[in-house]
Symmetry: C2
Subunit: 416 residues, 2 copies
């Protein structure tokens, strides 16, 4: 593979951008005079805030989590979606991080919180939150994605929205205790191979995890993006299983039970397993395979300035490690060219990409395609259907196609 | 220098932690029975939120920005401080990111926002926010620190608080347009050497910057941590000057004027210059030299469990690049041992460090000391006074000493 010369590509983009923006800027006002002073330049603003926890600008009131009314039978077992179309960098704001509950979000008093570690261990433990915070800690940036992210799009392009097709993902700094540290502490029996992690929400959400993953990179997290975990993310404590399905990242964590075999819970049979065309059910599809999506332009963010230069932007990620490259197509996948990746590029973390594009004003089909460090290449929806059949729910990591219309509007489409 | 064997150190820490925590856990309850189910485990929680922009748990209501009442004459020209004692990872929550205003926080309608780029340029520009967002963009993680961070501590240890001695710093993902891209666009004259950036707040806050820095890594930012800039951070647009004094990161950015010489504004004479003992004034002390501080334990977070294992935690940063190492002393600086650095370690960004400590229950003096990739070593306050004299305001990056008392309480002290 020829190494792409990103510097040259970027130069082309910037040069193309120059002429376009110059025209736009001329339209905006006479550039020889400084901007007129507005009221806010001739008065005192607000002093140091009497509400000492800050909030977004009131002009950003439409940047919120949203949900799909027809998707879930009740609000308590519903999900809401991150507005990726308004997320400029790799960190998801805590106020906008997607939610998914099986029985609603419990309100837990941290003084009453306890974490039990039990089962095939030498010395079971019951920890308070303060106990947990005394242990050696780590802090790393990882995405968490629901495997149902994109579920509506398996049969067809159904929802004309980036937020509602791709918004069941968020990326945070997670701080807490390595699960391996706690397992060292309790002393795991030689014949133990699994754990079962369960939550203290009404659903007692529980999932089995192989011991090798627990000893690798799992975090019992109490911190998220500069503060305590948010209530909808498991306050005061959740399990973070980097790169694996969101539902195994047990929120409101109550118990870790060490065992010889997996528990095969309700969540591993009626949910989060997948019936294949062969009639076999696929269990434990833990790893979130590599995926990417263009966040600008998208249905919520059309091209508003007519033909000219635009920067295509998006995110890519992989549950198996780092993003190696992202390629972008503006002709429906016939040809791809490499995008630029922004630093930092971290393992099991969102990576931001950009791609300069001179739009000729004609209809176009734009796509992004990620390759991760294991060599895995993001598949098309047609390739996905070959293995998964026609009516799956989970693991839709297929290439997203956005159709650009001549008027700049953007539609969600699927290519056959 | 011998490379520290961090793996072995960590093992010692974890082993020491084990016995301590086991004792604590036994005190917390009988470990052979699972935690009793609480009300929240036997009921439906809240459904998907009717307030679609999320908020912290109500149990975290004391984690807020705070200010020093006696420090500033008016609230409009005041500052509030980040609660670093409650910041678990390197990203500062937008709701907790410190504020500093010279004439209050303006409320700017983004539709009326304009940015002028003028002066010694071939083609001046007046840009709308949408124009700005069309340009090629970048997104990087950087700290911003006010040079007055620690100002109260120059003459003596005056404020017994981590938040109020070190909280004029925050670290975010900043997304926007490289200033060099815009300067390419307007065409800088061959004899230009400086710019003057000014804000649209009532103070028209303005600072001169050398052209070389503008062409290096400065960002005209509109995005912060997954959403639009917060109002107190310059909504809708600020200048980000990685690693340099907070005040040159002009908020509510209104104009960039390209020039031959610096403007020597009020902000570069009456403020943000430093009178030295020699009688000379030191101007343009832009770069924030390397600094570190222990965030646990600290005055707000004492040692609450008696003698035993504790993990010392903190942050280090440098305006000149990456943190190379952090060393921790528990004997008032007589001896230092290396701390463990958490990934990622990024340039001009907070780096998190941890250090395992077996506290014997006796009074102790704990310190952290950073070395950055240029080889610069964080100085003591005594070393700082030698150059800066006895009554400076800015650039106090000296080593912080916390005094641990036998009862676990923590005091801010200075060693002579």
């Amino acid at each position: 593979m020829t190494k792409p010369n990103r510097r040259d590509m970027f130069k082309v983009g910037a040069a193309a951008g120059a002429s376009m923006i110059a025209a736009s800027a001329r339209a905006a006002g006479a550039p020889s005079a400084p901007p007129a002073d507005n009221a806010w330049s001739n008065s005192l603003g607000h002093g140091v805030d009497s509400r000492p926890y800050g909030q977004p600008s009131r002009f950003e009131k439409n940047v919120v989590r949203r949900y799909i009314p027809w998707l879930s039978p009740t609000r308590d077992a519903d999900a809401s979606f991150t507005p990726l179309q308004d997320q400029p960098g790799i960190i998801t704001s805590n106020g906008l991080f997607f939610e998914r509950y099986h029985s609603g979000r419990p309100t837990i008093n941290p003084d009453q919180y306890r974490l039990m570690i039990s089962g095939l261990v030498r010395k079971p433990l019951l920890l308070t939150l303060n106990d947990l915070m005394r242990f050696p800690s780590v802090s790393h940036i990882h995405f968490i994605e629901c495997p149902a992210n994109g579920a509506t799009e398996w049969p067809a392009a159904q929802v004309n929205s980036l937020q509602l097709t791709h918004g069941m993902i968020g990326c945070s700094v997670w701080t807490g205790v390595k699960l391996s540290t706690l397992l060292d502490e309790v002393g795991v029996a030689p014949d133990a191979r699994w754990i079962v992690a369960s939550g203290s929400d009404g659903a007692h959400m529980d999932r089995s995890l192989p011991l090798w993953k627990c000893l690798d990179d799992c975090i019992i997290a109490y911190g998220q993006n500069g503060e305590a975990l948010r209530p909808e993310q498991g306050y005061p404590v959740r399990l973070v299983v980097p790169g694996w399905q969101g539902n195994v990242n047990i929120k409101w964590l109550r118990q870790i039970e060490v065992s010889k075999i997996p528990a095969i819970t309700r969540e591993e049979t009626s949910e989060y397993s997948e019936l294949l065309p062969s009639g076999e059910a696929l269990g434990f599809t833990w790893v979130m395979d590599a995926k990417s999506v263009i966040t600008f332009p998208c249905p919520e963010k059309p091209l508003q300035g007519g033909p000219g230069f635009y920067e295509i932007r998006g995110f890519a990620w992989s549950g198996r490690g780092k993003v190696k490259r992202v390629d972008v197509s503006v002709d429906g996948g016939k040809t791809y060219r490499p995008a630029k990746l922004d630093d930092p590029v971290l393992s099991k973390c969102l990576t931001r990409f950009t791609f300069p594009w001179q739009w000729d004003g004609k209809p176009a089909l734009i796509q992004s395609r990620v390759t991760d460090e294991t060599g895995y290449v993001q598949p098309t929806i047609v390739q996905k259907h070959k293995f998964w059949g026609n009516d799956p729910i989970y693991e839709n990591n297929s290439i997203q196609t956005w159709q650009i219309l001549a008027n700049g509007k953007v539609n969600n489409v699927q290519l056959s």
